[in-house]
């Protein structure tokens, strides 16, 4: 009985948290799309995709930092990276990251190094934020799953 109470509590917590992520604009409907793609045959789909996103984004952000550090910035390269990041964030529904990417690309096009650096900071910030939020979300999910398992003998 105690177990099921915990499940309910966690369920509510997870629901509220997810809602807050949507309300605060960290995620958009695309994330729902991802969740809908997850099923019995593919139980960890969302986590897998998002993990891939984290890996990819970490790499891209490093590349970006490097590229913008050079004396002669290759804006095409920067733009390609930002494009990638934009595409990825858009695909998982990390819309705040995606939005900064759009501005970022505009600065790239204008070859505005300051704007780009500024955007890089913003993107990093947004990315870190959404990463933390998503990790928290996944943690809650895992907890809920664990609680469910413990509440049922099987």
């Amino acid at each position: 009985m105690a177990g099921s109470g915990l499940v309910l509590q966690l369920q509510k917590q997870l629901g509220d948290y997810t809602t807050s992520l949507f309300n605060e604009g960290f995620l958009d409907d695309q994330f729902n799309q991802l969740q809908q793609l997850q099923d019995e045959s593919n139980p960890d789909f969302v986590v897998e995709v998002v993990s891939l996103f984290f890996e990819d984004s970490d790499r891209l952000l490093n590349e970006l930092a490097k590229a913008l550090n050079y004396q002669n910035t290759d804006f095409r390269k920067v733009d390609a990276h930002v494009h990638q990041l934009k595409g990825s964030s858009s695909s998982i529904g990390a819309q705040r990251v995606q939005r900064v990417c759009i501005a970022f690309r505009n600065h790239c096009e204008a070859q505005n190094i300051e704007g780009c650096l500024n955007c890089l900071q913003q993107v990093k910030q947004e990315y870190t934020l959404v990463k933390n939020k998503l990790e928290t979300l996944f943690k809650l999910e895992r907890q809920l799953l664990a609680a469910r398992r413990s509440s049922f003998p099987m």
Partner: protein, 946 residues
């Protein structure tokens, strides 16, 4: 007296009636059909008493009425009449009284006479006593008086003889008699007195009744009441106006003004608005013309709104004949006018409609006439212009011969008038054949199969006068259709070597090129069946040929390109057979066939119509273009018209770019019979629906039919020539067919072993090199390797560089029941499509190495030209072995749906990814990013039919 009155009553009744009209002017006579008939009030009931009569509407200026009666002729005549009537009535009464008086006085005289007699008698008797005259004599005298006519005498005259009991002529007797007479006298006097009294009374009565005014006004009152009663509800206004048109009398059922507002005023003084002035002017006109008139006047006044009145106005004359005013009567006819106007409108509309209809009919008629004229003109233009333009073309050819200056000038003038020039335009023979057949099929009215074969060696694009060629083809096909009642009509197009006359006729270039081709590139492989057929064909044809010459000229062109890279244009000779299974042409008619206005026979002309110009023109056109038109035919079996024409083939700028790959590819093209050959068929039942099948898809269709259906329908009957022309078609079809059988069925496994596996393995190496990072893509490749040639190969190619996007898309596709192949940029996409066939390509736009737009352009270029030059130019290197082999069984003429995956940009100056750009570059549609389940599903439903 009562009786007398009753008698006179009848007359009075009449008089009453007569009096009434006297109130109303002149035209009311004494005859029947009187306009006014007043009922006499009964003793105890007067119907008018029960009717409420509103008297207010009438407003009368009595002064004027008197004036009128005094001064107007009508009035005075009426008055005279009244007076006469009264006089007559009084005279009558007086006469009656006199008569009565006469009677009375006569009676008195009589009585007095009798008295005198009696007295004399009495004296006489007293004197002599002896005179005994009977009294009865007196009685006789008395009887002389006639009864008074007309008067019923109520006076009782006692004529009885006096009865005296006493003895005659005695004292007693006389005494008694005197006494008796005395009594009689007494009674007579009494009677006389009574009569006098009665007379006096009668006179008094007369006096009492005798006020004429009273009587008249009573009558008038009744008439007036009747008038009111009748007019009570009538929407009329009756009035009288003086010669200044001031109202003196008005009757209005709906009075809206007070008496003081009307009497003494004119219309314009009373109310204002439209129609008022008109009405007054009209009245004045009547007044001046002295003739009554009617007019309809529409008023638009504040007083009573919009109303139309029918007004009757008549002049009133004085005794001296001067007009002293008018009488007028107006009736509200607004509703009637409106109705009438509506009717008029309807009638008008009807008339307009009728007019329009007539006009329209006229227009239709004219249009029909015009169309007919146009049609005739078109026919004439075909029949007349073609030979004319032929002349110009001949002139054009003349210019290429040796001419002196004058001749050349003349020719130039002739040509510059520009009636016709042979045009050199690029066109696609396959399209022309297809279009001509399609057009013929559209107007086909019998069950014929229309088919077209274009051999693979016919270049995709050639240069020539496409309009003329189309004209020739159309002409020949319509001819064939005309004379064919069952079976089929078809076109076969294939490349032939330069004919002998072509060489002789002195196009040096062609000759030399053709020679080069022949000599340098003998046929090395394939075409066993085709060779055979060509042999048969041309052994009986116009062109002397050896089997060796029948190798694919396309190969020749290509090779010759390699050899003579300086030349950018080559000439190719294409033979076109238009065959049918129709009635054929009798041998004796063949030689006149191309002559103008000649038809095989008068019977034919009647039966099939036409001018007989078509074939002549065709022949001329063909010859003008440097070709030949020939025919072979056998009666009841069919005919084949053959024309051979030279065409320029433009090699563009790629002649120098003669890489091994290109020639390999060209070889390859030639090797696969069906890679570029087109086959069109229009079945009779599915008229208008096009079976444009190419390559393997075609084969499938053909496979569906029993092999015998490819054999000629009536082989026995086909004459030598015809067979020689037509048979190759069927044979080649069959041979191709069997090739396909091998390709797709029997030899499939072997082929896979031989070629495909290598190729795929090669590709896998290559692909895995390209996409080492991308695991899904690798997986895909692996699965491909495991099951080569399997139908499980993904039909969808995803071109996307973003791993996350790939993952999401793949997952979605999986849920939708599709596996996909993934490559990471445009160049890889081009390679993948080069490798094999896909049902659908989903292409990201913005990608490293090569973006989606460029990749799409390259793919489209390949689909259009059948070569990968664009890819080469873009620096894409295909693995050689895979190129050859894959291409061997990959049809290229299909258009793959390519769907862009793109982010819809909201910011104005963002990197240019727009839908228009996608379409411009040959993409079919787009899915906006981020890709969702619904969008994908919709896209697949639209572009990837199950």
């Amino acid at each position: 007296m009562v009786c007398k009155m009753e008698e006179t009553d009848n007359r009075i009744e009449e008089m009453d009636i007569e009096i009434l009209p006297s109130m109303w002017p002149e035209d009311i006579g004494f005859d029947a059909g009187k306009q006014f008939n007043v009922e006499r009030p009964g003793q105890d009931q007067d119907m008018l008493e029960e009717v409420t009569i509103m008297e207010e509407p009438t407003i009368v200026d009595f002064q004027r009425l008197i004036e009128l009666t005094n001064y107007s002729e009508k009035g005075s005549s009426q008055l005279t009449y009244l007076v006469k009537h009264w006089e007559y009535k009084q005279a009558n009464a007086v006469r009656l009284l006199r008569e009565e008086l006469d009677i009375l006085s006569k009676q008195r005289e009589e009585v007095e006479l009798k008295k005198l007699e009696i007295l004399e008698e009495h004296r006489f008797e007293e004197d002599s006593y002896g005179d005994k005259r009977p009294i009865s004599i007196l009685d006789g005298v008395y009887d002389i008086w006639p009864p008074i006519p007309r008067v019923k005498n109520d006076v009782v005259v006692h004529n009885k003889s006096v009865e005296i009991d006493a003895e005659y002529d005695t004292v007693v007797y006389w005494k008694q008699r005197a006494l008796h007479l005395e009594k009689l006298l007494q009674a007579s006097v009494e009677r006389e007195n009574g009569l006098v009294e009665k007379l006096e009374e009668s006179i008094k009565d007369l006096e009492r009744q005798s006020s004429p005014v009273e009587e008249l006004s009573q009558i008038l009152k009744r008439a007036d009441n009747f008038l009111h009663f009748v007019l009570q509800n009538a929407p009329v206004v009756i009035g009288h106006q003086d010669n200044e048109l001031r109202y003196r009398f008005i009757y209005n059922h709906f009075p809206s003004l007070q008496e003081q507002d009307i009497i003494g005023r004119t219309d314009v003084e009373i109310f204002t608005g439209a129609g008022v002035k008109e009405s007054q002017d009209f009245k004045r006109e009547v007044l001046e013309k002295k003739l009554p008139a009617k007019r309809e006047i529409t008023f638009e006044t504040e007083l009573f709104g919009s109303k139309t009145f029918l007004i009757y106005v008549e002049p009133v004359f004085s005794k001296s004949g001067e007009t002293i005013g008018i009488n007028y009567m107006g009736m509200d006819v607004t509703d009637q006018v409106r109705k009438r106007e509506k009717m008029a409108k309807v009638r008008e509309e009807l008339a307009v409609q009728k007019a329009k209809e007539t006009e329209l009919n006229k227009t239709i008629h004219i249009t029909e006439e015009t169309m007919r004229a146009k049609q005739m003109l078109a026919t004439m233009s075909h029949e007349i212009r073609s030979p004319l333009s032929g002349v110009v073309s001949m002139a054009e050819i003349l210019t290429t011969t040796k001419l002196d200056r004058e001749q050349r000038q003349l020719l130039e003038v002739m040509l510059s008038s520009g009636v016709m020039k042979l045009e050199a335009t690029k066109f696609r023979p396959r399209e022309v054949v297809k279009h001509v057949l399609q057009t013929a099929a559209a107007s086909l009215q019998k069950s014929l199969t229309l088919e077209g074969h274009v051999a693979d060696d016919v270049p995709i694009e050639v240069v020539g006068d496409v309009l003329r060629i189309r004209q020739i083809l159309t002409n020949l096909i319509s001819n064939a259709v005309k004379f064919t009642h069952e079976g089929k009509v078809g076109i076969k197009l294939y490349v032939v070597p330069t004919p002998s006359w072509g060489r002789e006729e002195g196009c040096n270039e062609i000759t030399c090129l053709e020679n080069g081709v022949k000599e340098e590139k003998p046929k090395s492989h394939h075409h066993i069946h085709e060779n055979g057929s060509y042999q048969k064909n041309h052994s009986n044809g116009d062109e002397p040929r050896t089997p060796n010459k029948t190798e694919s000229p396309r190969v020749g062109d290509m090779d010759q390109d390699q050899d003579q890279s300086h030349s950018s244009e080559t000439t190719v000779w294409i033979r076109c057979d238009v065959y049918d299974t129709g009635i054929g042409i009798p041998e004796n008619a063949l030689h006149t066939l191309f002559k103008r206005y000649m038809q095989v026979s008068a019977d034919h002309a009647r039966k099939y119509g036409g001018t007989g110009l078509g074939l002549a023109i065709c022949k001329q056109l063909v010859e003008l273009m440097g070709g030949r038109l020939t025919v072979s035919s056998r009666e009841k079996c069919g005919s084949t018209f053959t024309f051979v024409l030279p065409y320029k083939v433009s090699n563009g700028g790629d002649s120098s770019d003669d890489s091994d790959e290109l020639s390999d590819m060209a070889n390859h093209d030639a090797a696969s019979d069906d890679a570029t050959e087109s086959y069109f068929q229009f079945q009779p039942r599915t008229l208008g629906s096009l079976f444009n099948s190419n390559g393997s898809s075609r084969t499938h269709k053909l496979n569906g039919l029993p092999p015998s259906s490819y054999a000629f329908p009536s082989t026995d009957c086909i004459p030598e020539e015809t067979v020689s022309v037509v048979k190759p078609i069927s044979e080649s079809a069959v041979s191709e067919n069997s090739n396909h059988d091998r390709d797709n069925g029997v030899f499939e496994g072997k082929k896979c072993q031989d070629n495909t596996t290598d190729k795929l393995e090669n590709h896998n190496v290559e692909a895995s090199k390209d996409s080492l990072e991308v695991s899904p893509c690798q997986k895909q490749e692996k699965s491909e390797t495991k099951v080569p040639c399997s139908t499980l190969e993904p039909k969808i190619l995803l071109v996307e560089d973003n791993k996350i996007n790939i993952m999401v898309a793949q997952s979605m596709m999986k849920q939708l029941g599709h596996s996909i192949e993934v490559v990471n940029n445009g160049a890889e996409a081009v390679k993948a499509i080069h490798r094999r066939d896909y049902g659908l390509v989903l292409m990201d736009v913005h990608m490293p190495v090569m973006n989606g737009l460029q990749a799409t352009r390259i793919i489209r270029s390949f689909e259009e030209t059948g070569n990968w030059e664009a890819a080469e130019k873009a620096g894409i290197e295909f693995n050689d072995s895979s190129l050859q082999k894959s291409h061997a069984f990959m049809p290229s003429t299909k258009r793959i749906p390519i769907i862009a995956i793109m982010k819809m940009q909201m910011t104005a100056n963002a990197l240019s990814e727009s839908a228009e750009e996608c379409y411009e570059n040959g993409m079919d549609s787009f899915v906006s990013k981020p890709v969702t389940f619904q969008k994908l599903k919709h896209c697949l439903e639209q572009y990837l039919p199950p």
